[in-house]
Amino acid sequence: MSTALHKDDRVIDLGRAHLVAMKELCSSLVYAALLTDDGFEVVRLTKSEIDGGRYASMASSMQALSEAVARELRIGSGEYTIIASQSGHVVQLRVPGHPLVLSALFDNDETLGKALASSRQTAEKIAAVLTAVP
């Protein structure tokens, strides 16, 4: 039986490396987490006041609801889920082809476009590495 993703050291390490890289490219990144579809945190980056386990559960619920809405409206598979608030944006998207979600919080120092682009790039890079070496 294969190891669950959130307990697999290889996945945790590569996840962390990519989140660190994301932070380097995007100074407005405040918090980021890689989580399983059913709400377990694989790895997170910074902002220690956030309860990572609880956040991972909530992010997975949000992802599932977004995907349910997109299915219901027949608008194709989801791209981003965005929560735009006064002092920051939460951007979330699936790691393509894997039961994993990338969820990130950005402050308003940079634009939403930057948040979306860097989230997408990071998710795609993680997907590529995971697919390459199963």
């Binding site: 579809d37 609880r54 997975s60 619920s61 599932a64 609801l65 039961p99």
Partner: protein
């Protein structure tokens, strides 16, 4: 048409999603994700946000059916959905470790639904595990929470007949309570 909102609660693997699928006239809106806890409950997927279904009983009652995710780490969804419901069908799978204690735990967690409209308890997977007996649950409940009037039934969430019966029992309970409280308000 009278409208009701019913919550399906209970631990992971007790059959909530199945029960709603059995009852629902519409295609159920589900939020299933790949289950990484196969060692705890061996099923491929699990609900991570909610289930939503609808059923029209007779030609007078439309019932909205909401299912919670069973795991406690999704209790923020419990708060959100609990607020919307008038009553609850609590499903507990007979093969759960400490099933009776689990029943009481969920009953306490969703106690306000008992106050608001009523609760019906369904014990599932009695074919997988023959004990405890349904009567054991009733006895334990009477002892632990005297004063609560809660029907406890053995049911199969895949059976339309069982599920309709459980649902109707709950709706009747809710409507009776509404009638009593209207009457009380009138006599005052």
């Amino acid at each position: 048409m009278a409208e009701h909102v019913i919550l399906f609660a209970g631990p992971m693997g007790s059959g909530k999603t199945t029960a709603i699928e059995t009852l629902s006239d519409i295609e159920v809106v589900a939020t299933e994700a790949a289950n990484t806890e196969r060692d705890i409950v061996d099923k491929p997927t699990t609900t991570v946000a909610l289930d939503y279904g609808e059923i029209v009983l007779g030609d007078e009652e439309k019932v909205r059916l909401y299912g919670i995710p069973g795991q406690r780490r999704f209790d923020f969804m419990w708060s959100i959905l609990r607020e919307r419901a008038e009553g609850m069908i609590l499903l507990v799978n007979n093969d759960a470790p400490d099933a009776i204690a689990t029943m009481i735990e969920y009953l306490d967690e969703f106690g306000e639904l008992y106050e608001r409209g009523g609760v019906v308890i369904g014990i599932t997977r009695t074919d997988i595990s023959r004990t405890p007996a349904v009567a054991d649950y009733s006895r334990a409940l009477a002892k632990a929470r005297p004063g609560l009037v809660v029907p406890v039934l053995g049911i199969d969430p895949r059976s339309a007949e069982h599920m309709r019966m459980a649902l109707m029992a709950l709706i009747i309970n809710i409507e009776m309570r509404e009638t009593w409280s209207t009457r009380e308000a009138e006599t005052v």
